[in-house]
Every structure is written in structure tokens, then in C-alpha cells.
Amino acid sequence: MIIGTPADAEAVLQLPRRRRGGAVRKERWKEYGLGYLFILPAFLIFGVFTFYPFVKNFWLAAHETPLYPGNPAPYVGIHQFTTTVTSSMFLQSLESTAIFTVIAVPIGVFLGLALAVIANQRLKGIAFFRLVFSATAVTGVAVAAVIFGTLLSPTNGLLQSWGIDTAPGIAQSPGWALYAVSGIQAWQFMGLSFIIMLAGLQSLPEEVLEAARTDGASTWTVFWRVTVPLMSPTIFFAGVIGTIIALQSYGVVDILIASSGQGSQAVYTHTNLLINYIYDEIYNRQFGVAACLAIALFLITLVVTAVQFRVLAKRVHYGN
């Protein structure tokens, strides 16, 4: 190699740079490794308990579950799914789930918003009221079910002794059992709805509400004309969350009716929400049927959420 040409000079100059390039590459591989290492724990759990069962669920739905575990599961394709979702038990369950959701979610959303509006003022003792309004968010469905089960009891319930006839009791009265459990779900969701709405209200521009008020608009007008439109993204968010929660709400019906040991067959049929139906099939080790029901509920959740997005998104006012 003849030293002195410009190309050589460049080669000499590049030598350390190339070495540095190697070090950088090594650093980069180290960063890749660390990145994968850090996401590994989460992905292990997702892999085993979310992605694998999601796929496995379709396999289960397409195979008849053998009577005894370990025996071969014959492939039945879509047949098991169509039989399950056309059965009268499924259709009844679907109707109950629809009524349950349509009652519980709007009431919970509206009460949450109303409470948030009255709690979003600077008043003495407001911290206490905010705490109280959030309380049902931490009241689990089991606790709510036990409490309302007592209130509504025909033998020792408070409402009964106040002259509101609650006989023959939720578990024996197909006429209002479903409405009672829907109301309990609404009460329980109200707290979370309140927290979401309060967070939403607090990120609204205060000047707009202030301006509307000083313009002499009534509280009612300000609420419907200013607060609700401005809050529509949050209301929408609460509605979607509430729907997802309601579709997965299993405890109220389980405690008050299914496991109470007092439920009549008619009440049981009328309040057999899809999620409770799924549980029963799993408990009886009918994994195939349970998987078909789960797919149905998943599709329903998807469709309802998508419809909410389409219908509401048009009316939702997104600020900058």
C-alpha cells in the first residue's frame, strides 16, 4: 500500500471510525436485547393467558368436548356454534343480556354525569361529597348484591316494611328480577362513571362554562347546551366502558339468583345473562359450548362498541 494518495488518507481516517461503528453496533444489539428482555415478562403472560386461549377458544368451539377428559374431541366445525346460537336458551339469554345492558348503562352514565356536574363546584366540603359519589366504584358486585339482596328481601327488607311490595322476592319473581339486577348494576357502575366524568369536567375550559353562566343562561340550559356537548367524548367513553363492564357482569345474578338456592326456574331463565350462561357451561366442563357462547358474546361486544363509535362519534364534539 503506497501511502500518500488521498484515498489512503481517507482509509486511515476511517479506521477508527469503523471501529467506533463496530462498538455502536454492539451497543445497538445490547439495546435490542434489553428491549426484548424488558417486554418478555408481559408477553409471556399475554402469550399463555390471552393470545393462546383466544386462538384455542376457536378450536374448542369447533370440537365437541368429550364426556371424559382425555378422550378424543371430534371435529364438528361450525355446527356446534350454529346449534348453540339458535337454541332457545341462547336467545332468551341474549334478550335478558340486552335488557340488562340497556337499563344499566344509560342510567349509570347519566347518574355519573349528574353527580359529577354537581360535584364540580368549589364549595365547602366538596371533597367529602366527591368521595361519597365515588364509593360505589369500589363496592364490588358481590358486596352490592348482598346489600341490595337485604334491602329488597320480602321477609326483612326495608322497602317491604315501607309499604313497597317486594314479595315474592327477586329470586322468585320473574316479572322484576331482571330489572332489579339491572338497577343494582347501574348503581354499582355509577361510581366509576362519576370518576370518569369528574376527570372529564376538570379538563374542560372553565371560561366557556363561566361565560355561559354570566350570559344569564339557566343551570339547565348550561347543562344541556354547553356541558353535555363539550363532555360528549367523555360521555361516549363512559358508555363504552359501561357496556363492556355490563356484558361481563356476572356476580349480581350469581349471588342473588343462581347461587342463592332460592331461585325459581322461571327467574333463573329470565336472568340467565350470557356471562352466567358461559360460567355454567365451563363449570359443567362443556368447554365447546362455552367457547361458542364466548365467541357470540365477543362478537356482540364488538358490534355494540362499533355501533356506539359510529352513531355517537358523529354527534360527539371533539375540541382541539
Binding site: 403472560i45 368521595l131 364509593a135 360505589t136 369500589v138 346489600i147 337485604t150 316494611s161 343551570t219 365451563i282
Partner: protein, 268 residues
């Protein structure tokens, strides 16, 4: 006048929430004959504290409580660890398929629990986790929500701060521990509270797993076991109140934090 209206609204709202809760506390302290009276007294004139004692002594609520604390504590610890590590990697480290993998994380939030529950029940039995805390907790130790929330929070940390930390000789772990975690503390606290609430109030999964394994039953399932017959109504309400107390304490301590975490990220 306006002030009066405001307080009237606040008090009406408080009644909707507090009335059922008050009646639960009140009735848990009544004697059986008072509970059956028409109407039952609205104040416990002769408080029956033994209902609370009985929840522990006769119905083993102490062990349910212990199990719930272990179960919820493990879920919180696990979920925080996996979320912090993954969120850190997604924000501060570069690696191939980072975006795709993050989309997968978000996708987990779209797969509802009911779709996975049958297969998970099967899995847990196959690996013999059905009778222990591993089966009760590990499936919930990673959530798309947690990773998303922390990622949002880490993204708020200025890039210059990371560069400065690197120049100061902090490695990635040092930066995570000394800079990123302290800055994200409010969000981490909110996430911890959210996952504790969720874990404590879990019902379906513990119900499935502990139907044949009493030793790891949680408080929620304990409530179901006590049941609400006339004979047990006092104890059952006492147990409901006991179940609620830890969460009310958490709420008192962290409500502001929860609202602020939501204001900062999820709602907008």
C-alpha cells in the same frame, strides 16, 4: 339561593349512594328480631358486634381476607413490574418490531376476559395451578391498560433529561430507577390502586378456581358462601362491610390521584 340548590343536589346524590351502604352497616348491627321487625330500626340501639366476630370465628372470614390480600397484592406487584419494564422498553429502547409489538399490547385490551376464560380454566388445570395462588394471580399480572398508561407517562419525560442522564453515566437501569420511576410516581400509584380494586373485586375467576379449593377462597367468594338467609343476614352484611373497608380506605387516600391520572391520559 344557588348555593342552597347546590347543596340540595349534593345531598340528594349522597343519599342515593350512602343509603344502601348505611343500611348495610346498620342492619349488620341489629338483633335478629330487630331485622325482622316492620319497619326495622334505622339506628342500632343494641349493636350486635358479635356478627362481626362470628364472620371471623364461624365463617373463617380471616382466612378469606388473608387470601384476598395475598391475591390482590401479588397481582398489583406483578402488573406493576411487567408494565413498568414493558413501557420503559417501548419508550426508551429501540428494537426491531417495536411498533408491531406495541399494537399487540393494545390488542390484548380488545380480547375480553370471557373469550379466554374457558381455555384458561383448561390450561390452569393442565399445569396444576388450580389450587394455588399462581392460578389465581399470574393470568392477571400483565395488562394492556397498565402498559399503555405508563407508556403515556414515560413519553412525557423530556428527551434531554435522558440524554443528560446518559452523559452523567447512568445506564438504562439507572435511568429507569433514578429518573423515570420517580417522575412517573403519581401514575404508578394510580395504576396500583386501579389494579388492587380490580383484583380485590374479582369474582368469576376466583369463583371458578376455588369452588373445590376452599383454602384459597377470596372475600368475594366468602360472601357467596355465607349466603343471605334470614339466619345469616347479619353476619352476611357484616362480612360485606368488612370486604368494603380496605377499599374505602384506599379510596380516601387516592381518589385525587385517580381523577388526576384519568385527566392526564385516558379520558382525553
Amino acid at each position: 339561593m344557588r348555593l342552597l340548590g347546590s347543596y340540595a343536589g349534593l345531598i340528594a346524590g349522597a343519599l342515593i349512594v350512602l343509603f344502601p351502604l348505611y343500611i348495610a352497616v346498620n342492619d349488620s348491627l341489629l338483633t335478629p328480631s330487630q331485622i325482622l321487625a316492620s319497619p326495622p330500626p334505622l339506628f342500632p340501639t343494641d349493636p350486635q358486634w358479635h356478627n362481626y366476630v362470628q364472620a371471623f370465628s364461624t365463617y373463617g372470614f380471616g382466612s378469606y381476607l388473608r387470601n384476598s390480600f395475598i391475591q390482590s397484592g401479588l397481582i398489583v406487584l406483578g402488573a406493576l413490574t411487567t408494565s413498568i419494564l414493558a413501557a420503559y422498553a417501548f419508550v426508551f429502547l429501540k428494537f426491531p418490531f417495536r411498533r408491531t409489538l406495541f399494537v399487540l399490547v393494545l390488542a390484548t385490551a380488545m380480547i375480553p376476559f370471557e373469550v379466554t376464560v374457558a381455555a384458561n380454566y383448561d390450561t390452569v388445570f393442565k399445569i396444576h395451578w388450580e389450587g394455588n395462588f399462581a392460578g389465581l394471580t399470574i393470568p392477571f399480572m400483565a395488562t394492556g391498560f397498565g402498559i399503555f398508561l405508563l407508556r403515556q407517562s414515560f413519553m412525557g419525560i423530556p428527551k434531554e433529561l435522558r440524554e443528560a442522564a446518559l452523559i452523567d453515566g447512568y445506564g438504562p437501569i439507572g435511568f429507569l430507577w433514578r429518573v423515570a420511576l420517580p417522575l412517573a410516581r403519581p401514575v404508578i400509584a394510580a395504576l396500583a390502586v386501579f389494579s388492587f380494586l380490580g383484583a380485590w373485586n374479582q369474582y368469576l375467576w376466583p369463583d371458578l378456581l376455588t369452588s373445590n379449593n376452599q383454602s384459597i377462597r377470596t372475600v368475594q367468594i366468602g360472601l357467596k358462601v355465607i349466603g343471605g338467609t334470614i339466619a345469616t343476614v347479619g353476619v352476611s352484611l357484616a362480612a360485606a362491610v368488612i370486604t368494603l373497608v380496605p377499599l374505602v380506605i384506599l379510596l380516601i387516600l387516592f381518589l385525587k390521584n385517580l381523577v388526576r391520572a384519568l385527566t392526564a391520559g385516558a379520558v382525553k
